[in-house]
Symmetry: D2
Subunit: 305 residues, 4 copies
Amino acid sequence: MENYKKIINDIYLEIKNIDDIGKVARYIPELATVSPDNFGVYITTIQKDSFGVGDCDKKFSIQSISKVLSLTLAYRFEGIKLWDRVDVEPSGNPFNSLLQLEADLGKPRNPFINSGAIVVCDVLVSHLKNPKKDFLDFCREIANNPTLNYNEKVAESEKITGYRNIALCNFIKSFGNIKNNVEDVLDFYFHICSLEMSCKELSEIALFLANDNFTTHKGNKVLTNSQAKRVNAILLTCGFYDESGEFAFRVGLPGKSGVGGGILAIHPDKYCIVVWSPKLNLKGNSYKGMLFLEKFTTKTTSSIF
Amino acid sequence: MENYKKIINDIYLEIKNIDDIGKVARYIPELATVSPDNFGVYITTIQKDSFGVGDCDKKFSIQSISKVLSLTLAYRFEGIKLWDRVDVEPSGNPFNSLLQLEADLGKPRNPFINSGAIVVCDVLVSHLKNPKKDFLDFCREIANNPTLNYNEKVAESEKITGYRNIALCNFIKSFGNIKNNVEDVLDFYFHICSLEMSCKELSEIALFLANDNFTTHKGNKVLTNSQAKRVNAILLTCGFYDESGEFAFRVGLPGKSGVGGGILAIHPDKYCIVVWSPKLNLKGNSYKGMLFLEKFTTKTTSSIF
Amino acid sequence: MENYKKIINDIYLEIKNIDDIGKVARYIPELATVSPDNFGVYITTIQKDSFGVGDCDKKFSIQSISKVLSLTLAYRFEGIKLWDRVDVEPSGNPFNSLLQLEADLGKPRNPFINSGAIVVCDVLVSHLKNPKKDFLDFCREIANNPTLNYNEKVAESEKITGYRNIALCNFIKSFGNIKNNVEDVLDFYFHICSLEMSCKELSEIALFLANDNFTTHKGNKVLTNSQAKRVNAILLTCGFYDESGEFAFRVGLPGKSGVGGGILAIHPDKYCIVVWSPKLNLKGNSYKGMLFLEKFTTKTTSSIF
Amino acid sequence: MENYKKIINDIYLEIKNIDDIGKVARYIPELATVSPDNFGVYITTIQKDSFGVGDCDKKFSIQSISKVLSLTLAYRFEGIKLWDRVDVEPSGNPFNSLLQLEADLGKPRNPFINSGAIVVCDVLVSHLKNPKKDFLDFCREIANNPTLNYNEKVAESEKITGYRNIALCNFIKSFGNIKNNVEDVLDFYFHICSLEMSCKELSEIALFLANDNFTTHKGNKVLTNSQAKRVNAILLTCGFYDESGEFAFRVGLPGKSGVGGGILAIHPDKYCIVVWSPKLNLKGNSYKGMLFLEKFTTKTTSSIF
């Protein structure tokens, strides 16, 4: 751990003040109000050692990173049947996602693009009595953190401008791969995306993906070891939209980014690390976050490859 | 190693006689003559322990698996400049590869789809004095095996029916991303694809991707450790066409398949394993090969995730 | 006219009992209840001579043929500004319509594909106080026929299963090319598509496209001559989805088909002719309708080419 | 005719000196050497009256306009069987032509896009003993003009830079829709595109498409009336790439453009008119040519709609 601490501190100082060519996401009005200067890092190891720097305790909108949690819960409910509804392949270019969805008859390419995450939400709406409350309870249990919550303003903000997601959900429903009301599914989806966590909290909630022996404080295993490995595999091939290959190439870890500027990366058997910096590169991933993690796995030689 | 041996033997016997729903590739006439019943497995560990079963010493056409070797040599020549010519992203659906190539202005999505492998060949034709001979020498050196060779009949067979690859190469040249004569590049490309190796030989030649300390018998390091990791990362995200996600999901190792029915899989820091069985699934990957490897990483818990 | 009568009668008898390989549209439940044996033809010349055979007085759901009328009214309101919202190009394959819409930033390729017709409806919702009533009044005036009406059951039927159109409308709205509420636009759109007319009524209402001197009984000109010619041009290049070229090639007249089995064809300066036969070919156009019209323009040598 | 003369003169003077925002085609080096100021117009009526202004007697590279002639000859040889090899549908966006070709299994959308014209050339290579000579003889006969010829420099110029066409031809051959050697087909194709004619000559050679009674000086009918009408129909829906709808909308005549800056337009039953001005708009069609013809059909009210 001392090694990690030093390396994290060094990289943090090295890139804190570099010229960040990224841009804060503006398409959700609420996100545009976040200061672009925020920069935090937090690591939690499977030994439960932990360390953070910068704005690592400030909550931010985790956005698409929440798709890891919704996938986890749906996988737990459905097991392998889940893969009849959503595939596990990278999607290639973003611009053809609707074309692919048409060619694939409404089965999204993977659970981390919007179409796939919406189908996962539909699965959860079918299983949960009170989807928003029950999902939150699930998150709080694995994080052992009763303060986790949605940001209603952000959820509302997405709902108002979310025409593309409404389009997507109706399009999938036209193929029969959405079972519930479009409104219910999207209300749930927008809430999940509005989850707020700090780097610290996010690195703790994802620990079950790094540690085969993880159980919640209530003694529950979140996923079987085999399932956790498979989620990591999908994260590696599909976690960064059409920059997934680049992240695997440069960083070499399973991970997931969100347009709020967070990146979660997991070393199976070692640690979870979270970086937050709101400015995004052209592909929609945190510019500093990717840079930090590339340097981190290089210096710690902890790529999985 | 004893553990691996037992597991390999068990799985080999378990699936040897299953109902193989795959089909032997027929588009290259020479490949169609291979008996579909061939089935071999060979593992070589970084400690140079090794073990094989079945037809593990019979030579077969490694086809696209050769793209790992051509990429390696081109990467060695060009370093990071190589990525100006070819990207490292999964390509999504096969059907839109030409569309992507057009949208990406002639820069292929990755070095393992045909377009990317052709660009890699163009890079090598620029660097090598006698491309076919020099490349073969390179392969023989890292394999420490002077018997490796092309199969001229297979090379000729591909050339005659290779209208799509001629189309691809001219299309990329129209964007300026092929520097040499189309005929020279494709002659080289078709020869590389015709390389013949046994499971044993293939598991030995790829060992440099598993072992950081690997040097050839002449004392040369093939790639830097960082480069080798990056090749593994691209293998994981792009090694199985539009089934790359599925292979990562089920097997959890970097790997590469060929239409000859071979699959090479690498555990960084542990081993190279090769399975050969000519019948291919609908996505063009060895049906038994994928099945074998899924069972193998599950029983040895040696997925990288 | 006598010449037309004889030719119409001859062709009617010739093909009435042929083996119709088409299929009745089933995606709107209400349409599936219509007898596939209906077959009617009606012609109205610019001299107001007219003639019909078969089921030419039975009302049917004109479906997409209504897009000619909504375009007409929107063109009248907006003039050339309308073409900032929707283009006048054929769309090629249907399967890439969403891809095109994305590439074209939400501007549909033409007013006769669903996306374009929805934008036209949005234009009308902006202009009309009571869109459904006002549009009906417009139709009744140019047809001089106060009995024209929507079929509420069909409109309802489309609304319930219209997930793709909801998707389309939200998708276009995400680009800013829908100004009103999605619900209002689609409610209007579904009603327009549910308009019911007989062959006779349809041939009368479209006469303004054939006759430069047409005025309504209230003395209003529907479109300027130049505008009417341009609507005919769009009908010729875009009126039959991805079979537009085929219709121009075989029939040689501007025209529009609907999934209810109706086809309207116009000879500028001569006549409007309507054929109705519910069984559709694979491209969604009336099988007998196309056959009838091909024979009709051949025998009357009245193709515009 | 006096009416046409005056209108042609008026429009010629009106737009001769306008600010032409088009650009001369540069992708074929030889074309880039032509003066952008050339501007000629020539009309020939079915009564064989004729009239020209400006550079109407200067020869220019007719480029894709030659596809009308090659289609004509192939149609004459094959009759309706030709449509098994090439379709008659507009192609939508240019960017997806290869995607369409793949989806359509190597059958081009129409004979006026490059892929379709190449298939037409393949048909001719199968039929003609000396394709280049025989095709030229055919052109000379219908034009009654023994001076018509290829421009070898332009043909050579295209061959050298024609990687996309080589790609296209090989791609189609991979589907089996090219029967002859790729080299032979493309050599023929590049020669056809290099045909040189003046506005006058071009308006005369196409007269058979306007005049049902046309026979060559040797007494041969070029196409049956029905075939000629069908060629006109394809010209209208497909003659201007992805601006075909726009040309139908603005001009209202069947026509064909070439990147040399020529436009041929046909009024069935009235006339052929040719405009030449080398600067092209963004879609690759002569800017002044389209403007001239729009004004011409408006003032003469001779749109076919």
